[in-house]
Amino acid sequence: MAAKRITREYAEISESPPSGINVSLDNDNVHKWNVVMAGPEGSPYAGGTFHLSLTLPPEYPFKAPVLSFKTRIYHPNVTNDEKGSMCIGILKSESWKPSSKILAVLLAVQDLLREPVPDDALEAQIADKFKNDRPGFERDAKDAVKRWAK
């Protein structure tokens, strides 16, 4: 069932991709997607291009997909390292539901770029800066985009 559902979801997203998001399969493996996401306009990430890797476990959709940033990003909710692990509610095992869809996950990531959630941060320092020194945060984020996401 997993492959069938993934194929169906992939077809849906490919046919009518949400703005700023592009998906492709990694080596024709339906369980591994390459996602290219444009930094949303109005956010410090605008103009950047972010590559993400989406891994769908064999138990999908019973188990949540795993999503990580391949492009390094300066963001409170994404680890600021090579792994680019991230933390979003919809992917947490206790809130993942089999009828949650990949499209919703991708849109949630987009939302996270627009509006970080510092209270649920992976990078405490960045979260602090976001909360207490918003201009400084935006400057750092833009610098990071120039360095890594151009």
Binding site: R5, E9, E94, K97, S99
Partner: protein, 632 residues
């Protein structure tokens, strides 16, 4: 003939329009079921059958003006029905129809949820239509009018509740449920998990929230979740569904279980019985584990949960509470221990093993004093030490299990609680008439051992006697040490001193205290042997005053007393047959009794045999309530 033709043509037309029409055995008769599926659910109330009011049928009846109607409906439960049992139409096209004779319509419902008045009114409508159609074929028009009337449930429930006699309640509700299910099965749904469109027949609608998923996905998911023990996931698969519902009803117990599916819904999906059984078992287990007061079966191979059979309250806290209760009761030394024991009985719900919830041994009855479980850490070190002390240095009363500690004297004990006579060594019950028989019967473990532990049982006398018959052999060893140690200094005091066995806060110093209290006693003039105690009293008075809160110092402090010359044991060990035999294994210590002391012992034994020995102590009465020195 032409009329026949007209009638057959009309019936053929009807059969073409309503394929479900059934032609009757009689010529020109037919019957048709007209489904009643109102566009809006009908709010139906079922008043008790005794007081069935005339059915309110607004267009036809005049009951609208009756004020009593509404009040009846107010306290009767109402149901919204989507489907009502179909209206059965039986029609006959008689000779002369349509030109001269109107058709004959007979209407009925099973059960009769439409009143006869309403049915009559609907039937009468047929004749009206026939007239309006100027005596032409009109059956289709009539059926059509019935169908239209059915869409608003024949006007029932418009404006006010539709009342149907109570006796039809079950069949109507049942019909509604089945019809809803049938309609559901005809629909097609997009399963949110596999994203495939699925027929209603292979879908399940969640009872709580109404989300629909295909049975295959639900089975896959729930089977997997239950297999992995992920009970929390056994809920609606729709994103945020459970959360939204939790938010809607925040007043609920605050547990997630509310959004979890019930076993009966899992059965409906359906899941296999074994899986549902596992789900229920795991849930129960989780509930037990989250309840701190749950007691588990001590059998290693079982370890099932146990519920105390004698819960006075239904809550699981009972066991803990009753344990605390019994502990305090023991501390207070009140008789309540008899009752407290009842709450200790636990029966394993799995293997039915009956055990004590305090000591985790097989059920030993209510009267046994037992130690607490060790590993649970509920007891403080001090409490544990006290219990350990009790175990080592007290003997339980065979009747009421109250622990008794002997401070001095012989092994004939009288319980301070229930006045039972018993042996301090083996806890045997003794005949009040002749308690010493126990020590004079050969081949009995306690033969000739009336005076063992004469100096008392406690920390100050070394490792105490355990007080159980089968331990007699090894305990002799202990006593050996004890005599060697400090037993002497308190020897020869009157027996029958029974110390109340507090569970906690036992003060070994009481031994010393007791001795001090004995001091001022004046022996009766005609009982010379008692004067043998004179030196002893003096000696005890020389003891450092260590009694009181510094209880634990007492054992150490008591030792110097042993250095004081003991007039009663300095020489003359000969001739004292009985005493000698009892003490035979202690002779090595070199304790010797002088003649006078032996004489006193002899006399005492004699008095004891006559059960008069309490006279020796009569003046002690009332000095200290703790020491019950009387034989009664």
């Amino acid at each position: 003939m032409e009329e026949d033709n007209v009638r057959s043509v009309e019936l053929e037309c009807l059969a073409a329009i309503y394929p479900e029409i059934v032609l009757g055995a009689e010529p020109f008769t037919a019957s048709l079921e007209i489904p009643v599926h109102p566009t809006k659910p009908v709010k139906v109330v079922f008043p008790a059958s005794a007081e069935v009011a005339p059915l309110p049928t607004p267009p036809y009846s005049e009951t609208d003006n009756e004020p009593g109607q509404a009040t009846i409906a107010a306290h009767v439960e109402s149901h919204n029905l989507m489907y009502l049992p179909s209206l059965h139409l039986h029609l006959t096209l008689p000779e002369g129809y349509p030109a001269e004779v109107p058709p004959i319509f007979r209407l009925s419902t099973t059960p009769q949820w439409l009143s006869q008045d309403q049915l009559d009114n609907l039937q009468a409508k047929g004749a009206t239509i026939w007239e309006d159609n100027e005596h032409l074929e009109m059956v289709y028009d009539y059926v059509d009018s019935l169908q239209q009337a059915a869409e608003n449930a024949f006007g029932c429930g418009e404006g006010k509740d539709f009342q149907i006699p109570q006796e039809h309640k079950i069949s109507l509700l049942d019909y509604d449920i089945k019809a809803v299910q049938a309609a559901f099965e005809k629909e097609t749904f997009d399963c949110g998990v596999c994203l495939d469109p699925k027929k209603g027949t292979v879908c399940h609608k969640m009872t709580g929230c109404g989300h629909v998923f295909c049975v295959e996905c639900l089975q896959d998911f729930y089977n997997n979740a239950i297999k992995e023990g992920d009970l929390v996931s056994v809920r609606c698969l729709s994103p945020k569904c459970a959360k939204e519902r939790e938010a809607q009803s925040p007043s609920k117990t605050g547990r997630k279980s509310k959004t979890q599916l019930s076993p009966s819904e899992l059965l409906q999906i359906p899941l296999q019985h074994e899986v549902i059984t596992r789900y229920v078992t795991l849930k129960h287990k989780a509930d037990l584990e989250s309840d701190k007061s749950t007691i588990y079966c001590p059998r290693k191979w079982c370890q099932g949960a146990a519920r105390s059979k004698k819960h006075r309250k239904p809550e699981g806290f009972e066991v803990v509470e009753s344990e605390n209760e019994s502990d305090t009761e023991e501390t207070n030394g009140k008789v309540a221990k008899f009752k407290a024991g009842e709450d200790l009985l636990s029966v394993c719900e799995d293997c039915s093993f009956a055990f004590c919830s305090r000591c985790y041994q097989g059920w030993h009855g209510e009267f046994k004093s037992c130690g607490p479980r060790r590993s649970d850490g509920e007891l403080t070190e001090e409490e544990k030490a006290s219990l350990e002390y009790l175990k080592l240095h007290t003997t339980p009363c065979p009747t009421c299990a109250a622990p008794a500690q002997k401070t001095h004297g012989c092994n004939h004990m009288i319980c301070f609680k229930c006045n039972s006579h018993f042996c301090y060594l083996c806890s045997s019950w003794l005949q009040p008439q002749n308690p010493y028989l126990h020590y004079n019967e050969e081949n009995k473990p306690c033969f000739q051992r009336l005076w063992e532990l004469e100096g008392g049982d406690g920390d100050d006398v070394g490792i105490g006697f355990f007080g159980v018959g089968e331990h007699v052999e090894e305990d002799d060893e202990n006593e050996f040490i004890e005599e060697d140690d400090v037993g002497n200094d308190l020897a020869n005091q009157p027996h029958h001193a029974v110390v109340q066995g507090d569970v906690f806060g036992l003060a070994p110093a009481e031994v010393v205290e007791q001795a001090r209290l004995l001091a001022p006693r004046e022996p009766a003039a005609n009982r010379a042997p008692i004067e043998r105690e004179g030196p002893l009293v003096l000696r005890i008075n020389q003891l450092p005053r260590v009694a009181g809160p510094a209880a634990l110092v007492a054992p150490a402090q008591a030792n110097p007393g042993a250095a004081v010359p003991h007039p009663g044991r300095q020489n003359a060990r000969a001739g004292q047959e009985a005493r000698h035999r009892v003490r035979a294994n202690n002779e090595a210590e070199g304790a010797v009794l002088d003649e006078a002391n032996q004489a006193w012992v002899r006399m005492f034994v004699q008095m004891a045999l006559n059960d008069e020995e309490d006279q020796l102590d009569s003046d002690d009465e009332g000095d200290n309530a703790i020491f019950d020195i009387h034989v009664r």
